[in-house]
Symmetry: C2
Subunit: 339 residues, 2 copies
């Protein structure tokens, strides 16, 4: 088996109109800058700071993007990364693999991902062709827990997801998903065994590509670690409904695991997915890079839980991760992107 | 100063119609597969083998692409790389930064690079925005020495370039360039001080982006190493004609330095560019990965000379580079890409 030091982290990024629904996402300081979040996240992981994107993504209260954590772990472990463009709405100077996927529509439209079939197939092809024995797969897509909820509901899986907000707007998400299902002439469970139908109706292009990647890689004998919370659990669900029987694992943060509204453990158990939870010990310091996580914000994203798990497996103490995270954050604050 | 271990290698790849001129290039086993060479080269550097590209680039006699050498050094040193799409004619699964540049026309057309201005400016912007203190810049573009000859001629610099063929078809290249200049209503030296005019008339999109990158980075105080032979010398010439006064260096292979038809040392001296020549000692083994270099083929490309210089500066013995090169090559032969 490949050691985790050789595991490539694939980050799939994109945008959707779903993220513009008021109150859905905290993946940006304000709606008009949230559109830059995935591009900025990919640049932070690649370069340590935004390069072309005009913002460092923060939540409305100032919580920095989990990309900072993933970058910190990458600096410590030196793993290879691969950014995949699954419908980015803004150009990025992070190098990306193109998929042809376009920005997702609103989940309440009749088709949330009109090109779901092509995006899923492109993900499969990429998953089959990458040379690695082990991959980790993460995401960056604002509004992604809502589309994950949509997909889980359409597949007939446990319809619960986490949130980047400390107070999960689950009732709002459920209303939005219900409207999306109705617009697609579906009810809960109607897409059982037809993952592309779930994606097309109420998913997002990032989930389509990430699920395809998982299917293509797992079917080629690659060890796939889903690096994230309930969104990546939804990717696992899509892979299971596509017929993947291979072992799959999900590595998330303690912040997601502690989110009672999400029940990620129950979801993982339902999907026969091994769950790893890593606690970065953020309560041990008081710093703007970590305080909001302790207060329940952000929680996960951009592969954070997977990166923490890789650090833990490599024997890197979480104190070192925290130190590096503070260093990456301080660099971001010292060298803000040009306006 | 940044140590060379922290120098990012930027590889600019693209295609042109010039490469289809019979007898111009050895960057492919045959004209119909040469179009895949830049995409395959970028994949070899990123992954160790082609992933989406259907071929391992070899010359008509079987000499493997210099990308194999650059990959070998990357495996030994672990430097970061960045692939830039400057008009790739075929899709690649190597992650790339988009530039908007399109595949170059034939140098004998009135405009070889109609969008030269935009490609050059995009290169400048990328060079200004990358966070690195030190960059190396290389290229992969079949037919690139002919367009380099075109640019050097138009700028009024020493009109001599190397070749991937053991017998440099310099007379053919000069006829082609003369036809290109005539089609553009230019004579030798007419583009002195106007690098974009030289690029538009008789250049290629890779040179446009690479020269822009050099200008943007050098003007931002970044230490720029041009990783290659006479093509990268042409990029240096374009940067000088754009007014760059900062120190520039060129790191090439002994195979280019020994090419009497090219006189890379004279060209570097004319341009006030510090020249580093690294000899990988290929004559010390007899192997299909190296024999053709000893016989005078390929010589350079895909950052090879720069990668060798970085290895040398890092104290890595050339014997280790050769061992790793053989290992990379053997993997390529054992796991050929799908047809």
């Amino acid at each position: 088996m490949t050691s985790d030091g050789a595991r490539r982290l694939v980050l799939v990024g994109g945008n959707t109109a779903t993220a513009r629904i008021d109150g859905i996402s905290a993946a940006g300081a304000a709606p008009e800058v949230m559109v830059h979040t995935p591009a900025a996240d990919l640049e932070i992981v690649e370069y340590g700071r935004p390069v072309r994107a005009p913002v460092v993504p923060v939540s409305p209260t100032g919580c920095p993007t989990p990309a900072v954590v993933t970058r910190a772990v990458r600096e410590l472990l030196g793993f290879e990364t691969l950014a995949v463009d699954a419908g980015l709405a803004r150009p990025t100077d992070a190098p990306t693999v193109a998929t042809g996927a376009t920005t997702g529509a609103d989940v309440r439209d009749a088709e949330a991902v009109p090109d779901a079939d092509a995006a899923f197939e492109r993900g499969c092809a990429l998953g089959r062709s990458l040379p690695d024995d082990a991959l980790a797969v993460g995401e960056t897509v604002p509004g992604g827990t809502t589309t994950a909820l949509g997909v889980l509901t359409a597949l007939g899986e446990q319809p619960s997801v986490s949130s980047s907000l400390s107070d999960n707007p689950l009732a709002l998400k459920r209303r939005v998903v219900d409207a999306g299902l109705a617009a697609s002439d579906l009810t809960a469970g109607d897409a059982t065994g037809t993952p592309v139908a779930a994606l097309r109706a109420v998913g997002d292009p990032v989930l389509a590509v990430a699920a395809g990647l998982t299917v293509g890689a797992a079917e080629s004998g690659v060890d796939v670690l889903l690096a994230g919370g309930t969104q990546m659990a939804a990717a696992a669900a899509l892979a299971r409904h596509a017929g993947v029987k291979a072992p799959l694992s999900l590595a998330t943060t303690s912040f997601v695991a502690d989110d009672q509204s999400a029940d990620v453990a129950g979801l993982a158990a339902d999907l026969d997915v091994e769950l790893t939870v890593t606690d970065p010990g953020f309560e041990r310091l008081s710093h703007p890079a970590t305080d909001a996580y302790v207060a329940g914000e952000a929680k996960e994203g951009v592969g954070m839980g997977g990166a923490l798990a890789l650090a833990d497996r490599a024997g890197v103490p979480m104190a070192d991760v925290r130190d590096r995270l503070v260093a990456v954050y301080d660099r971001l604050v010292d060298e803000p992107p040009a306006p």
